[in-house]
Symmetry: C2
Subunit: 317 residues, 2 copies
């Protein structure tokens, strides 16, 4: 770190930081046997819990519940029909028990029925105003500075960086340029099947019907990476069982590969919900003991927020 | 064209060439009101009939029929079951009447049931050996030199160029790097739903089950462009009703946009199957009179192979 500026200044020295630096150095050094051509330098990042805070609930869930409340006056039947009733009541215990079908109904009610352009405006308006309850700051402030540095370091090293999220692709794309510097084509996520048609003036338009096309979590991640990119990434970052298959797919490519998991073990500065914690609901993924054991057995990097991150958020100076 | 080298040397001077040059110049000139930022410089190209020869049948159809014949000894029941029977007999009259369901069965028999890596090898082996019946040359020799020049000119002008094909995405990706210089993520096409799993050694692997996920033709083109790229392209090139909606979507974005259709009107040097011809089967798209009228009404560029292309194939010197 002497003469050259440290590309990861928010990271403490340690095994995780060293592994990231070593990986990038060897894959970008044409004299190294692990050199990777620029066109194959692909890195993928999970979003929730990997690039920004996902507790006590996903930003997109807050969006869905607030939008549901806003639409409720037009749907009096929701007051007595599940899953709307519990969702409107903010009944988190009931929410934890929602099935995938319940969640799809909530997505249909809040994320569908408009044009793609209208949805983008709805999300952009919301994300500009909504605040995280703990920090009372925009969700977009709660990105992890150390991970932004990794994204930037990879891009400066001619890697193309993709977000691969179980969250909604159109939702994340609405703010990804501003927050991550990620273009729309660099965001892969769960998607409704857009439907082509024409507006009243005969102009081409894409609608959002309530029909799920891609569910980009767990096995969906490698499947969608293959669909979009045609090959495994060289580096992949996640934080839960929802990312397990993405990391396994990354490793399956052989040669120099970087697999990393963010471990949430800092209940003071952020949250602690790793294998030692009481979190048992794996509906949306969790860092389970089994995942920890798999990571260790395969030499995946475990990034401890407590030990490895000097600073967590950009606003902490 | 004086001091600066002509980026489109295989094009005759005329309205089509001028329109392409003007579009690129104004969208890349920071002082022009039609300037487009580099991150939004997206161009999409249909493949069959736009980038390479599609007559008398698609290369991918030749692949499917030859692979079907190779697999037939393991499937004696195909000799007496449709659509396999007609396909194996090379009965083009019967083939012209195949339904989408028939075609899906042929795709299932020839394009599914192996890993993604195995399929890539199968296609690469085939494309390296197969020859077009008229020219007795590899299909990959039958790309249009003028269109390769447009792709190259756009790339040199910091456009990202995508192939958006009704053909199979994995099929086209298997040779797109070599033939078009297109990376896998720059090929959007019809796709089976890859399925994540593990091989006998516990290694992550993606299988190709016989399940269609994306049918990337007609309305599927703008839908998939939105899925992959999140916004309309700035320029789009096609040649048939299968590209109509892609061009309409491109135009819907407003501002400086380039919509172009290749008209096959040269039966001596290639084929003639435009609005004046006897081609009436629009199953896979055709250049109909209605499309011609829409193009004229919207100032889309019509590229006449006969008039606009000085040279058609790279091997013609």
């Amino acid at each position: 770190m002497s003469a050259v500026a440290d590309p990861l200044p928010s990271w403490n020295e340690g095994a995780a930081k060293t592994a990231i630096l070593d990986f990038v150095r060897k894959t970008t050094d044409a004299t190294n046997p692990d050199f990777v051509r620029e066109e194959d330098r692909i890195a993928t990042f999970d979003q929730d819990g990997t690039l920004w805070v996902e507790h006590p609930f996903y930003a997109q869930l807050a969006f869905a519940l607030q939008r549901l409340a806003g639409l409720a006056p037009e749907h009096p039947e929701w007051q007595s029909t599940e899953p709307y009733k519990s969702a409107l009541a903010g009944d988190m215990a009931a929410f934890a028990k929602f099935t995938m079908n319940d969640l799809e109904q909530l997505v249909a009610a809040t994320h569908a029925g408009m044009t793609t352009g209208e949805f983008q405006t709805i999300v952009a308006d919301w994300i500009g105003k909504a605040k995280h309850p703990r920090w009372d700051r925009p969700y977009t402030d709660l990105v992890y500075q150390p991970m932004l540095e990794v994204m930037q370091y990879l891009r400066a090293s001619r890697y193309t960086v993709y977000i691969v999220t179980g969250g909604g692709q159109a939702f994340v794309r609405a703010y990804a340029r501003q927050v991550y510097g990620s273009q729309p084509e660099e965001v892969i996520g769960s998607s409704l099947a857009a439907q082509f048609g024409y507006d009243a003036n005969g102009k081409a338009v894409l609608m959002r019907p309530p029909k799920l096309l891609l569910y980009d979590d767990s096995s969906g991640k490698p499947q969608d990476i293959y669909l979009f990119l045609g090959r495994p990434p060289r580096a992949a970052f996640g934080n839960s069982t929802g990312d397990q298959q993405m990391l396994e797919y990354t490793q399956s490519g052989g040669g120099a590969r970087l697999m990393a998991l963010v471990l949430h073990d800092d209940d003071k500065r952020e949250y602690a919900y790793g294998p030692d914690s009481a979190q048992t609901d794996t509906k949306f993924g969790a860092f389970t003991q089994a995942l920890y054991d798999e990571a260790k057995a395969n030499n995946w990097i475990i990034v401890s927020i407590k030990r490895d991150w000097k600073r967590i958020f950009p606003f902490e100076r």
